[in-house]
């Protein structure tokens, strides 16, 4: 090692603490770059592999390649593993079945391909009704076009060309039967038979399914060239897989790549700020001996070398450790989040996500890390090369200040006292350092607040979806008979606490008489209605929705309200008004307002007159016409009088529709007796038999709440299968869990990123502040020698920290507000929430800023305070 290297090394050892802080900062940065590259690659390949499982083990298919040209493809540039099958022939559907079935398939052909045994597993066929073909006389067709061939089950015979095939299986996948449309500009469906590879000879044609080595956007150049040379009929790519690698259509991979490079760029900016600062600090400390070396004949290059050597040492230590800790960090993170990822995207995938590190991931990390360190060293090195012996003697480089630069306003002194003024002057003396510190703080604030808000919006809107959802699972019932069966099977289940079988009538309009509407309408509802409609329209009538529940559930529900079920059912016209509701409405600025209101201001025993219209043709015809306002006055035929038997502020489980068909929020949910409910349904049935303009239906669903939802889900799945699999069921609980898992994932990654980024930034600030204080040792000693008390000194340090923080917040908070607003503006359509500044986040940011600065200041100044004034005075300025 030459003398300059030795000196540099010794200097670094002498300033162990700062060197360590820099090294740790660089390790974190390298680890982050590594983690970003690894995670991006692992996700890409996980999703890509997953997509492959759902399509097939190939990226591209070359159709009808002359067999003698096969090596052009198999050995082609960038072609990894391939498999192939024999092209047997194209057969017109018309020719196969002997007549023209429909227009669409006029020109459609079935392309038969012969595959060897093992190759069938490499293509995804979905569920197969039957088996793979076992010999040349068996064929597998797709459910997608089997109807066109009049094939309904395996075992049927079909003749194509000269061969009579037995259908061995009908496969489900619909994805690539039509892929060759692009090639022949006609519907081409794929059917598969068995064909041993040994029987293929020159003159035959084959379909080659190939994987590609290097998945980049330039793969099409290679494919195009190979395709042309091989003389194939055409080729198509496996878009579903390539999508994840950012190739071809769709932008998933592109987005992924962009995110990756943006993150790496952000990390690099933070890291460069840290390292460059560390280098320039250590350079100014070394300028004296560099000057001395210059005086004895060190060249520019040698002086430059000193800085690059420091970078080299830091890199040698930090890069391997960074890569290692980045890898370990990713492995640990993946271990923690594995289940959650699996629960969100993995349900269809066989393997859980794993950390996938390819050599090029490490190479990328090293390249970016070296680049970072090089860029950081470049400017300090140039400065080093310009150090002259005179600079070393005079030490003037660092203290070139002009009066203007450190000028402060009179008001500063008035407000903060002399100590405050001195503090501000101290900050202003080195504008660059001040700017770097403020900048890195501000960037951290912006990053944190942006991410905080993003997560906040996500959480908020995820929660909002479940406003007014008071159940965990439901099963939709399309047929009353089946529904009742289902209900009877599940109602005794141990896996749920509550079951309700809810029915209500759709598309029959029931109106509360306008006199009663006026008489009983509650004022709380009226104000809600006005804001809801937001067009000046006043409430004229209430609509009414009739609900009916199974006796077990409703008896229990009524009991809780202090209402007797038996007495309620005793009179047909008894009704329970579900009188309370809560809704969230957004004003023009998007600010949510919660309304809790009551519909009616009536009491038990009051009579309500209802008008029922079974058929309002115009009403249903113009159902989708927004401008349509139904004219209820004349059309209502039936009239019933309801007896208000009870008013309930709580609501039974299940969805309640508070909106009329034309979107007004004036629909009162009412529980009616079984007798009345059935009578109205029966009337509708009778009328629809007379006249098919009546299109009423009864909406039925079973709702569940509480208990073991996962077991319940399995139980329901079993019952569904038992009963023919026609029920549609949905687990809110599962969805909520998936949503919260997703949120958790986002939080892990984003907060992990922010915390690490903040650490790098904090390391930088620590270095800057502690050095700037260390450099001023002599000044502090002078101040103390002319009689500055400890209290004054602390005050000055306090103000210095404070000004740093305030300045950073002054830039950081408006900048983040702008970005937050920008994000909000762009995604507000998806996030159904109003714009507001994240105050909690801002408070956290403010506190963190002051903690980072304050502790750096306190740490560095405590050392100085302990020091003897004399030692401080003797201290050379550098």
């Amino acid at each position: 090692m030459n003398i300059i290297g030795k000196l540099t090394l010794r200097h670094m050892m002498l300033n162990k603490k700062r060197t360590m802080v820099t090294v740790i900062g660089v390790i974190i940065s390298v680890a982050m770059i590594m983690a970003v590259a690894t995670i991006a690659y692992s996700f890409t390949s996980y999703l890509g592999e997953g997509a492959m499982e759902k399509t097939g083990e190939f990226h591209v298919v070359f159709e009808k390649v002359p067999y003698e040209n096969r090596d052009i493809v198999l050995e082609g540039n960038n072609i990894d593993k391939s498999f192939y099958g024999k092209f047997i022939g194209d057969y017109n559907i018309k020719d196969i079945i002997g007549y023209e079935k429909n227009e669409r398939e006029e020109t459609a052909v079935v392309r038969v391909i012969g595959l060897e045994g093992g190759c069938f597993e490499k293509i995804y066929f979905g569920d197969i009704d039957g088996d793979y073909p076992a010999n040349e006389n068996e064929i597998m067709v797709s459910a997608w076009y089997s109807d066109s061939l009049n094939i309904t089950e395996p075992g049927q015979k079909i003749t194509m060309g000269a061969t009579e095939y037995t259908v061995s299986g009908i496969y489900e996948a619909i994805d690539f039967e039509t892929k060759s449309i692009d090639i022949k500009n006609q519907y081409t469906y794929a059917a598969f038979t068995y064909c041993s590879r040994n029987t293929i000879k020159d003159g035959d044609y084959i379909n080659i399914y190939s994987k590609i080595y290097d998945l980049g956007n330039d793969i099409y150049d290679d494919i195009e060239e190979i395709g042309e040379k091989s003389g194939c009929e055409g080729w198509y790519d496996n878009k579903d897989v390539l999508y994840y690698y950012g190739i071809g259509e769709g932008n998933f991979g592109v987005v992924m790549n962009n995110i990756k490079y943006i993150l790496i760029a952000v990390i690099m900016v933070g890291a460069i700020a840290l390292i460059a600062n560390g280098f320039s600090i250590s350079l100014s400390e070394r300028s004296r001996y560099l000057g001395m070396l210059a005086s004895v004949g060190a060249t520019k290059t040698q002086k430059c070398y000193s800085v690059f050597f420091e970078g080299f040492i830091i890199g040698i230590i930090s890069i391997p450790l960074g890569i290692l800790s980045g890898y370990i960090g990713t492995v640990i993170t993946f271990k923690i989040i594995e289940d959650k990822i699996y629960s969100i995207v993995g349900a269809d995938y066989a393997a859980p996500i794993s950390v996938d590190v390819k050599p090029w991931v490490i190479i990328i990390t090293v390249i970016f890390s070296v680049l970072t360190i090089f860029l950081s060293a470049y400017f300090p090195a140039r400065r080093a090369s310009k150090i002259t012996p005179i600079d070393a003697i005079r030490q003037t480089k660092d203290i070139k200040i002009t009066g203007k630069q450190v000028k402060t306003r009179k008001i500063t002194g008035k407000i903060f006292g002399f100590e405050g003024e001195l503090a501000l002057k101290n900050l202003k003396r080195n504008k660059k350092k001040y700017a770097i510190t403020v900048f890195s703080l501000a960037v951290s604030i912006v990053l944190f607040l942006t991410v905080y808000t993003f997560v906040y919006y996500l959480t908020n809107s995820a929660e909002m979806i479940y406003d007014n959802v008071n159940y965990d699972m439901y099963v939709d019932i399309y047929d009353n008979e089946d529904g009742t069966k289902f209900y009877n099977k599940i109602k005794k289940s141990e896996n749920t606490e509550t079951v309700s079988y809810q029915k209500y009538i759709c598309q029959i309009s029931i109106l509360l008489d306008s006199n009663d509407s006026k008489k009983y309408g509650d004022s709380s509802f009226e104000s809600y209605y006005r804001d809801f409609m937001n067009d000046g329209s006043e409430l004229e009538n209430f609509e009414v929705q009739f609900y009916n529940y199974d006796s077990d559930y409703i008896a229990e529900f009524l009991k809780e309200q202090g209402i007797s079920y038996e007495e309620f059912q005793a009179d047909k016209n008894n009704a329970i008004i579900l009188n309370s509701s809560t809704e969230r409405i957004y004003d023009e600025t998007g600010t949510p307002k919660i309304y809790a209101y009551k519909y009616l201001n009536c009491s038990e025993g009051d009579k309500l007159t209802l008008l029922i219209n079974h058929k309002d043709e115009k009403y249903y015809e113009d159902y989708y016409d927004e401008s349509y306002q139904p004219d209820f006055g004349t059309e209502y035929k039936d009239e019933i009088t309801l007896n208000v038997f009870g008013l309930s502020d709580s609501t039974p489980i299940g969805n309640m529709y508070h909106y009329s068909y034309y979107g007004a929020a004036n629909c009162i949910p009412v529980i009616v007796t079984d007798e009345l409910f059935n009578e109205i349904v029966q009337n509708a049935v009778n009328m629809s038999e007379d006249d098919n303009t009546v299109s009423y239906f009864v909406n039925e669903a079973i709702y569940f709440e509480g208990g073991n939802q996962e077991k319940l889900y399995n139980e329901i799945t079993e019952i569904n299968e038992e009963m023919g699999g026609n029920f549609w069921y949905y687990s809110v609980y599962q969805q909520k869990k998936e949503d919260s898992d997703m949120l958790f994932l986002i939080q892990v990654f984003t907060y992990g990123f922010i915390v690490l980024m903040t650490l790098v930034c904090a390391a930088n600030i620590f270095n800057t502040i502690s050095t700037s204080i260390a450099l001023r040792k002599r000044e502090f000693a002078t101040l103390r020698s002319v009689g500055m008390t400890k209290k004054s000194f602390n005050k000055m340090i306090f103000y210095e920290s404070g000004f740093y923080g305030i300045k950073a917040l002054l830039y950081g908070i408006p900048a983040s507000s702008l970005i937050i607003w920008f994000i909000y503006y762009n995604i507000s359509s998806q996030f159904d929430s109003g714009f507001s500044l994240p105050w909690v986040g801002i408070i956290i940011a403010v506190m963190s800023v002051f903690i980072v600065i304050g502790s750096s200041m306190m740490y560095s100044s405590s050392k100085i305070k302990k020091e003897n004034i004399i030692d401080g005075l003797k201290e050379e300025n550098i």
Binding site: I399, I401, G403, K425, R429, E779, G787, T789, I870
Partner: protein, 234 residues
């Protein structure tokens, strides 16, 4: 009137075999208005003595009374306040605050006290120091002699009981040295200010009323060259 009294000052560094006695039982006292030069070879303990008198360093044993106050009986805060009001220190390398301009550097002890400097008094000092044209310059825009004049200003602004100067001309050429010494003597005479100067320069020592010579931490000689009264006659 006795303004400074030093009693049995001892200052040691290290311990055991490497024990170094920088000051060894030094005692003397100085009258108000006296101009004392302290001379001696390097390492004789001159600077240590000055720093201890100035309240910036602590003796191992012994006492320092300034204007009757035992300065080391004061707590840290009170000592700092005492320093800013009663002691003016001048260093060889000026030790000015680089971010403060000439006026602010001079008035620093007052600013620390939260006082507004008396304009007339300040103008007078600036006048004497010939710094009127340079009030808003920063230290790095001044020559060495100018910087030292600023540090004199800072030392005398509060009319302290005692001004201590550690080789005030050590870093200056002869013309500037003369000027600085004239200023110090002038202040000494004009305000009857006590002045203690450490120097290597025999010419400077000979200008003093009294010369104390230190050797190996002990007073080797203490000669009165001329009495205060006599000087006034001269």
């Amino acid at each position: 009137m006795e303004i400074l009294k030093v009693e049995n000052l001892t200052k040691t560094y290290g311990e055991g075999d490497v024990l170094v006695k920088a000051l060894d039982n030094v005692s003397f006292s100085v009258e108000k208005g006296e101009f004392v030069a302290i001379i001696g070879p390097s390492g004789s303990g001159k600077s240590t003595l000055l720093h201890i008198i100035g309240g910036v360093d602590k003796a191992t044993s012994g006492k320092v009374y300034i204007d009757g106050t035992d300065i080391y009986s004061l707590n840290e805060t009170n000592l700092a306040i005492f320093r800013r009001r009663q002691i003016g220190l001048i260093y060889q390398f000026y030790n000015l605050i680089p971010v403060l301009n000439v006026e602010e550097n001079i008035t620093l002890p007052m600013l620390l006290d939260g006082k507004t400097p008396d304009r007339e008094h300040l103008d007078e000092i600036l006048d004497i120091l010939k710094l009127k044209e340079r009030v808003s310059h920063l230290p790095n825009q001044l020559s060495g002699g100018q910087q030292q004049r600023v540090s004199i200003g800072r030392a005398i602004i509060n009319n302290p009981a005692i001004v201590l100067a550690d080789e005030p001309t050590g870093n200056l050429d002869s013309k500037n040295s003369e000027e600085i010494m004239e200023l110090l003597k002038d202040s000494n005479r004009r305000n009857n200010q006590t002045l203690i100067v450490i120097t290597h320069d025999e010419k400077i020592a000979l200008q003093a009323d009294r010369v104390i010579s230190l050797s190996d931490g002990k007073i080797a000689s203490d000669e009165v060259i001329r009495s205060k009264a006599g000087r006034e006659v001269l």
